[in-house]
């Protein structure tokens, strides 16, 4: 399932950035360097970013601009990384955040 916008009547949606690989929960996916991690995950159909601490409920994209923290994940071993405002780098290792840790 590809959910990137591939054609647009107003925007130039051709990606000029370098294609890189990142790992999400042990699985390798394609991403573009510099795009928000969250965008790369959505493009691969990944919509759950974390589970809440007390009730273990799934959370995903909600505000998209760094305000709500619902898309926080573990990135390169560091928890609570807001993936909507953190850019992709080649070889990043990302994990679904389960509880605050």
């Amino acid at each position: 399932m590809c959910v990137r916008v591939e054609q647009h009547c107003i925007l130039d949606v051709d990606k000029k950035e370098k294609k890189v690989k990142i790992t999400v929960d042990g699985k390798e996916i394609e991403a573009y360097e510099g795009e928000p991690i969250l965008a790369a995950l959505l493009a691969s159909g990944i919509k759950v970013n974390r589970y809440t601490v007390k009730k273990h409920e799934p959370r995903g994209l909600f505000c998209g601009i760094g305000q709500c923290s619902d898309c926080s994940m573990v990135v390169d071993g560091k928890a609570n990384v807001r993936t909507c405002i953190t850019p992709v780098k080649e070889g990043m290792v990302i994990m679904t955040q389960d509880g605050l840790k």
């Binding site: 959910v3 990137r4 916008v5 591939e6 054609q7 647009h8 009547c9 107003i10 925007l11 949606v13 990606k15 795009e35 928000p36 969250l38 965008a39 959505l42 493009a43 919509k47 759950v48 970013n49 409920e57 799934p58 959370r59 995903g60 994209l61 909600f62 505000c63 998209g64 601009i65 760094g66 305000q67 619902d70 926080s72 990135v75 390169d76 560091k78 609570n80 990384v81 807001r82 909507c84 405002i85 953190t86 850019p87």
Partner: protein
């Protein structure tokens, strides 16, 4: 200790315009923003703006963003991205956290003679069963995904809210290749401009007025797979027996915005509640100065409006800040402000604008009554 003449917080239209005016007058301006790129929400606005030619009607939001960034660069505005204000202390000291999540972050203390707060607004939420399920998001969040990141948040969308945000974002989701399967509005009629509603109606989107979302039902993967809507009574309560199930993977909520006042509260500026402007807002005068001397506000943080009003208010704040630094003659500053207030009045006309003009006048009057009078009593 790092020192600047003017610190501007928020690099949207208000903050950029404020920075440009202040830098053009010769001030050392530092503009900070928590995002990866400057421009605020301008770069997700791919539609042409309304209004007069003085306000660049017919120009798309992202082109206005590019123009402002160009101007800011030429004026010599220093911009720090991925930077968040986390404290304000006596003696004009501001603590700024710089760096990305997961990376090295440093906290820098800045002494700034003047502060301009242009922190914008955040989206309102509608609560229903399952509203925290992945797939339920702000309409603005969906707009950011398609127009800035060029990624679809989902394929089958239920839009909640028929204000201009709900209508415009519905259309833009379709432009990005999403299927908008329903537009839900609790009120008996559409809230936004008829011209926007007509566009999405022509595209075949079913519009349900007097309806609300009752539940977002998750599938096996924990994300939205069905949405239940129902008719509402005169008190906006769902009428039992009118439920309808819609297959959808995304619910986008366009239920208005509220001013982002965290920084205003850090500075202990006096607030007032104003419903039409979206909630609590800082009192300010016609120089956009708050109850705290040397702290100015502009844009949606002073009441939710639109990009053009934000830009003009930003200009006033920038001009007033450098006037108080002695970089512009008071006479000259006053002349500039009068011109800008005239343009703002032109923007606050018509069926949607008139109310905002009345409320803005109320805010200015309340400032005189509560802030100025209090100072005189001292």
């Amino acid at each position: 200790m790092l020192e600047r003449d003017v610190l501007v917080v928020g690099a949207g239209p208000a903050g950029l315009a404020a920075s440009i005016e202040a830098a053009k007058a010769g001030a050392d301006v530092l503009l900070v923003d928590l995002n990866m790129k400057p421009g605020g929400q301008l770069f997700k606005q791919i539609h042409k703006f309304f209004g007069s030619s003085a306000h660049r009607s017919g120009t798309r939001g992202f082109d206005i963003g590019k123009m402002l960034l160009d101007e800011a660069e030429k004026a010599g505005v220093e911009i720090w991205l991925q930077s968040t204000v986390i404290g304000a202390f006596p003696g004009n000291l501001i603590a700024i956290e710089k760096g990305i999540d997961g990376g090295e972050k440093e906290v820098i203390t800045l002494k700034s003679k003047k502060v301009i707060i242009a922190t914008g607004a955040s989206e309102n939420v509608v609560r229903f069963k399952g509203w925290t399920t992945p797939g339920v998001m702000g309409a603005g969040a969906a707009q950011t995904m398609i127009n800035v990141n060029h990624v679809k948040p989902g394929n089958k969308i239920v839009m909640v809210g028929s204000g201009n945000v709900g209508l415009i974002v519905s259309y833009q989701l379709m432009q990005a290749g999403c299927d908008v399967v329903a537009l839900i509005e609790a009120a008996p009629k559409i809230g936004g401009y008829a011209v926007h509603a007509a566009k999405i109606r022509r595209a075949g989107v079913p519009i349900y007025t007097k309806h609300t979302v009752v539940e977002a039902i998750p599938g096996e993967d924990g994300t939205v797979c069905k949405v239940v809507i129902a008719e509402v009574d005169d008190k906006f309560q769902p009428i039992p027996g009118t439920e309808k199930e819609i297959e959808a993977d995304t619910v986008t909520i366009g239920a208005g915005l509220k001013p982002a006042t965290d920084m205003v509260k850090l500075e202990k500026c006096r607030l007032t509640f104003n419903g039409p402007f979206g909630g609590f807002i800082p009192l300010h005068n016609d120089k956009m100065e708050t109850s705290k001397k040397g702290v100015y506000v502009a844009g949606d943080a002073t009441g939710v409006e639109e990009a053009n009003t934000a830009l003009e208010e930003g200009r006033i704040a920038g001009i007033s800040a450098v006037e108080s630094l002695g970089l512009i003659e008071p006479k000259e500053a006053e002349k500039m402000r009068i011109e800008i207030w005239k343009r703002l009045e032109a923007l606050r006309m018509g069926p949607f604008g008139e109310r905002r003009q009345i409320e803005k006048n109320n805010i200015l009057a309340e400032y005189e009554e509560k802030v100025v009078a209090a100072v005189e009593m001292d």
